[in-house]
């Protein structure tokens, strides 16, 4: 009866098909032999991305404005997100072939992106557009993968032990001196908890963090993972590590349940514990969380003070996408971000204590940031070779470790069960 009219709904399909046909091969392989400085007459637009809060965004905007002033032909488009979303977006771009030219990079993702050839090899630029001799060699090595320089560290930090003087005063005890044996530290935490009558606690159960396990392993002279990326400890050792804290869970550290209550803050950030071990760059965040005027920072416990158990961890790195059309300009931008004293001044130690000497001079650290720098200098004797770049999936394992540690603290599982679960999950994550 009705005259046939061509279906409207079909048009959507048609357009999609047409678009699919227009797809071309994506991504390009970057050449590592190139070097040199950008052509000052070529108009270039660089996409640059970072994760961070609005404070960091303001600092980067300043740095970008300065760079554009010095290089009028280069236009930098900055974009930012929070950490989890940042990597979600990168993942899609990596697969879809649209990674930004320059990226703020995280140590734990370096191997994954580097192995897949998504990052430009910067080796050819070293000394020819990119100054790297301003950076400590072992620290610079953290941005390398199989002799290719894939990323350059902006700054560094190390594992450390924070103390909150206000909480100590409330409990009426002296601060922890730092660098003693683990047993001494356990006893110290118990003494704080006892002195305050349970109002505040001596610390947080350190066996929840994989970094403390790593620290103990390094004190025995090995890393969490072998060079080949295999687990370097046994299930029994892990169970033993978790069991070792049974005593302190009973009478020294903040109960796991209370930690859950104050999340997303940590027990330390919520002014409930006197000490906590974490990365030294947490200074800024913890000052904000606690509202304290001053926090102390001392060396973590050790079973042998002569062992080089700590290492300089790059707080973040800068990398160039392999698919960039303007490698010279991208490298010039990284050079500016890493080495320029002006950038050092803009950022201070908010990206970690500046890795580059020239940036560090410009930063003129003071107050809490200077304290962090002084701490890092004070433990120089304990700082050794960094472990190999984290295995693919390290972030997930770190999280699993924390979750299992929390479950033990809540009494939901035993250390032995947790160790079993950890190895089961690691087998899947590491694909072995």
């Amino acid at each position: 009866m009705f005259k046939r009219i061509s279906p409207r709904a079909g048009s959507g399909v048609a357009v999609t098909l047409a678009a699919a046909l227009m797809l071309t091969a994506c991504g390009g392989s970057g050449g590592g032999d190139a070097g040199g400085t950008p052509d000052p007459n070529e108009e270039v637009t660089l996409n640059f991305t970072w994760w961070g809060n609005e404070d960091r965004a303001e600092r980067y905007e300043k740095a970008i404005a300065l760079f554009e002033e010095e290089n009028p032909n280069i236009d930098v488009n900055g974009t930012f997100m929070d950490f989890p979303a940042y990597w979600e977006k990168r993942q899609t771009e990596a697969a879809g072939g649209g990674l930004p030219d320059v990226m703020q990079f995280d140590y734990s993702y370096l191997r994954q992106y580097g192995q897949n050839g998504l990052l430009l090899d910067l080796t050819g630029f070293e000394g020819d557009g990119l100054t790297t001799d301003s950076i400590d060699e072992t620290l610079l090595a953290t941005g390398k993968l199989e002799d290719q320089t894939l990323a350059v560290p902006t700054g560094y930090n190390a594992w450390s032990l924070f103390e909150n003087p206000a909480v100590l005063e409330q409990a009426g005890v002296e601060g922890y001196e730092g660098g003693t044996t683990w047993d001494d530290y356990d006893a110290y935490m118990a003494s704080v908890t006892e002195a305050s009558g349970g109002e505040v606690y001596g610390g947080t159960d350190y066996t929840m963090r994989i970094q403390n396990f790593e620290l103990q392993l390094r004190q025995e002279g090995r890393d969490l993972f072998t060079e080949e990326g295999e687990i370097n400890f046994t299930q029994e050792e892990l169970a033993e590590f978790w069991s070792s804290a049974e005593d302190i869970r009973e009478n020294a550290v903040i109960p796991a349940r209370q930690l859950e209550e104050v999340a997303p803050k940590s027990g330390f950030g919520a002014n409930l514990t006197a000490t906590e071990m974490t990365w030294s760059n947490f200074m800024g965040g913890y000052l904000g969380d606690t509202g304290a005027e001053d926090l102390n920072i001392v060396a973590p416990p050790t079973s042998d003070p002569s062992v080089q158990d700590l290492y300089q961890k790059p707080s973040m790195l800068h990398a160039v996408s392999a698919g960039t059309e303007h490698p010279e300009a991208a490298v010039a931008f990284i050079e500016f971000l890493i080495n320029s004293p002006e950038v050092g001044e803009i950022f201070g130690a908010t990206l970690g204590v500046p890795a580059s000497e020239t940036a560090l001079e410009g930063a003129a650290l003071e107050g809490p940031e200077l304290e962090v720098k002084e701490y890092l200098d004070s433990v120089a004797d304990r700082i050794g070779e960094p472990p190999a770049a984290p295995v693919v999936g390290y972030g997930a394992l770190e999280n699993t470790f924390l979750t299992l540690g929390t479950s033990i603290g809540l009494g939901a599982i035993t250390p032995e069960e947790a160790a079993q679960q950890f190895f089961d999950e690691a087998a899947v994550t590491l694909g072995s």
Binding site: M1, F2, K3, R4, I5, S6, P7, R8, A9, S11, G12, V15, T16, A19, A20, M22, L23, T24, C26, N47, W51, G52, N53, E54, D55, R56, A57, E58, E61, N77, G78, T79, F80, M81, D82, F83, A85, E88, K89, T92, E93, A95, G96, G97, G98, P100, E261, V262, P264, K265, G269, A270, N271, G284, G285, G288, D289, T290, G291, T350
Partner: protein, 301 residues
């Protein structure tokens, strides 16, 4: 008609009792009823009320004060949030969200209703197949599409514009809405169309003068959902928008709460409250139509 019959059955058992001792029984029941409702509402609304109340807490109070009321109430969080991020004023994020939301509504209403009309009223070759395919897209997880979709839009040079987020809406890609309207149109008496046809209407005129006015409840339901989904969408804007200038609210919100640098919980909560207001207003204004829409859909049978 059949659906209505279930309703009266709920009432009769009460009626004979009510006749004998009407007043005391009724009051007691009402009191219990009201208390029950109030308790339930309180439980359900508590998180929301907590969020509103928490937006007046200074940032340092998060973690130390778990309670409902702030110890030192302040409006600093809102002042800070209104200053914006990295030189971009906060109203810009609201504006971007609004463009996306309104665009999604317009696109969805126009395209889905036309697609639905075609599926319900036109007899074209392969209609059952296309209909099945359309329904099939409902079963396709979004995550499967992310990468191919991203590649298409990237190669079309549309990344960092609103197009990737809106084009689909104008092409009736939301099978849910199309399906909803198809069902609605199928329930309209075909005789209306035929009468119009005898009077000389073509498909355009039938669609515009007969179908659209009659499926208004479905259109309103779709508009509300399209708006709220678009307003709350995080993944789409995250993938397709690069310039902070183009960020809609859900992205801006995340920037206040980056765990790896210092987090400003007060500001996060404050902007969450602000982001919620327009959706709530939108819902309050249109919820009458929403209920109408859902109710009338159930009645057609």
């Amino acid at each position: 008609m059949t659906t209505i019959e279930t309703n009266p059955t709920a009432v009769p058992p009460v009626q004979p009792v009510r006749k004998r001792r009407q007043t005391p029984r009724k009051t007691a029941a009402t009191v219990v009823w009201i208390i029950g409702i109030v308790v339930l509402t309180a439980v359900v609304l508590y998180p929301l009320m907590w969020m509103i109340s928490a937006s007046f807490k200074p940032s340092s109070e998060f973690g130390s004060n778990q309670g409902f009321l702030p110890e030192n109430p302040t409006v600093d969080n809102f002042v800070k949030v209104m200053e914006g991020v990295a030189g971009i004023p906060t109203w810009k994020f609201f504006w971007n969200s609004t463009i996306l939301g309104v665009g999604a509504v317009i696109g969805t209403v126009i395209s889905s209703s036309m697609a639905a009309y075609a599926f319900a009223r036109l007899d074209f070759k392969g209609r059952p197949l296309f209909f099945t395919m359309m329904i099939g897209t409902l079963l396709l997880p979004f995550h499967v599409l992310i990468i191919p979709q991203y590649m298409i839009f990237r190669n079309l040079g549309m990344v960092d514009t609103f197009f990737p987020l809106l084009v689909g809406k104008f092409l009736a890609t939301e099978a849910f809405f199309v399906f909803l309207m198809v069902q609605f149109i199928r329930n309209l008496p075909k005789e209306l169309d035929e009468a119009a046809r005898i009077d000389g209407c073509g498909h355009w005129r039938i669609f515009w003068s007969i179908t659209v006015p009659l499926i208004k409840p479905a259109l309103i339901t779709s508009s509300i959902f399209a708006f709220i989904w678009s307003w709350n969408d995080f993944l789409g804007p995250l993938l397709y928008l690069n310039s902070p200038d183009n960020y809609p609210l859900p992205l801006a919100l995340r920037v206040f709460n980056d765990q790896s640098s210092a987090s400003d919980y007060g500001a996060t909560v404050a902007i969450s409250v602000l982001a919620l207001l327009p959706v709530m207003l939108f819902f309050v204004i249109f919820q009458r139509f929403l209920v109408d829409g859902v109710a009338t859909q159930g009645l057609k049978g």
